[in-house]
Amino acid sequence: MAMIRLEGVSKWYTPQFQVLKDCTLSVAKGEVLVVCGPSGSGKSTLIKCINALEPFQAGSIVIDGAKLPDPKTNLPKLRSRIGMVFQHFELFPHLSITQNLCLAQEKVLRRGHEEAMAKAMMLLERVGLTAHAHKFPGQLSGGQQQRVAIARALAMDPIAMLFDEPTSALDPEMINEVLDVMVELAGEGMTMMVVTHEMGFARKVADRVVFMDGGEIIEDRPTEAFFGSPHSARAQTFLSKILAH
């Protein structure tokens, strides 16, 4: 059964400037989907449509029974059930690491402080940052901040996780510490949709790869098939460019 289903999603600012064109795809429970494509192809916009951070003009999205667009859908509630990790981490700079992890647990899920704290410490241990619990985001490296951001999303017990280029803003030596956490998460059966250029990661953990260009989904195929013999010329060109070195 599909956990996330997009049906003909289109987004435009003006009729001439269309950023998503009739995108249809589905993600099953426990599936890991990698979305790749040249910059400006609409990948980030597409995954931001899934938790309604970006509005769209046509089509529909269903996430575990909740529909978009639908005035009856409680957007904050829907968003709280989907974890999101951003390219630039977006930790809250004025809050300590534990406060970053507790805020939404307490304000959205109405968990008590003790419970939220216990969950935060458990997740910090999991991403290997217990020693930094009392620090502030500005005192951590990029890789550490991104691991905190993943922990912050997991603290909400999400049914699925969205990653928007989680390693693009990192120095090369920090990419792996973040990918390791993501690989582990995938291994535990988390439903994941990942926009990334890390093709090694895609090969290793993705069940399917979606290739986008010009706002369209050009290919949507099992990982092995995609890397073995991409059908489209555009995907071939893209792969040859990013795998050249």
Binding site: K48, N51, L53, P76, K77, R79, S80, R81, I82, M84, F86, Q87, H88, E90, L91, F92, P93, H94, L103, A104, K107, V108, L109, K135, F136, P137, G138, Q139, L140, R152, A153, M156
Partner: protein
């Protein structure tokens, strides 16, 4: 210049019969402080609300708030006080106008509200700038966690935005204190008005205005130091707002 200096004038009784000239200045200082404090409370609260509303994605709300800011910051403060004090009671229904005119301490209330609203337009501008200085991702991150718009502002955007605009807000506080002197034109006996009264009674213009200058400097030095302390208290380890 044939000026007769008399620094002892402050300890002489004023013809008002309420104490020495120094007491007169202190009474003025008290009104200056009260007017500045109330005006700042109004400026800060109204300005914050208007500033926040101007960053929402609702066309007519933004337009209405922009109109508010343009109206209050583009009319000279002197004209605004005259409008509130002399014109408003006349255009209101007779009963209400009479109530306004006979209200005790009318100059204080009108002055504080008038100066407060004038300053609120400037605070609104600062708050908006502070919020717009934040990366859009901060809003997204709060929203993506399921926080409502109000919660995102309350817990994430405003705490950071206010830290960024603390230095300009300090300037606005100092401006509020200085602008309180304009209220003398509607008859508020604040520090500048009392200083002029002292000069007229005693003819010791230099002594009177030296004292007023020093008192204003002390008040604003206290404001500046207090705000430095607030900045220090609000500083976040590893986070520099000047990036």
């Amino acid at each position: 210049m044939n000026y007769h200096w008399n620094w002892g004038i402050f300890w002489e009784m004023s013809p008002e019969g309420t104490g020495t000239y120094f007491d007169m200045l202190l009474a003025g200082l008290w009104w200056t402080l009260a007017t500045s404090a109330l005006a700042w409370i109004i400026a800060f609260s109204v300005g914050s609300v208007v500033g926040v509303l101007r960053t929402l994605r609702s066309g007519w709300v933004v337009m209405a708030c922009n109109a508010y800011v343009e109206l209050f910051r583009n009319i000279p403060i002197l004209v605004q006080l005259f409008l509130w004090y002399f014109v408003l009671p006349e255009v209101l229904p007779a009963e209400m106008g009479r109530w306004l005119k006979t209200m005790p301490n009318a100059a204080f209330w009108t002055g504080s509200i008038g100066i407060g609203l004038f300053m609120s337009a400037r605070v609104a501008e600062q708050v908006k700038a502070g919020l717009q200085a934040l990366p859009r991702g901060q809003w997204m991150a709060g929203t993506a966690l399921g926080l409502t718009t109000a919660q995102t502002y309350r817990y994430i955007l405003l705490p950071t935005a206010f830290r960024i605009i603390l230095p300009p807000l300090t300037s606005e506080m100092l401006n509020t204190v200085k602008n309180s002197s304009v209220a003398l034109t509607i008859g508020l006996m604040e520090l500048t008005a009392q200083t002029r009264a002292m000069q007229e009674f005693s003819f010791q213009v230099f002594e009177a205005f030296t004292a007023a200058t020093i008192l204003y400097l002390i008040v604003n030095a206290v404001v500046t130091l207090a705000m430095r302390w607030v900045e220090k208290m609000a500083a976040v380890p590893g986070y520099t707002t000047g990036h």
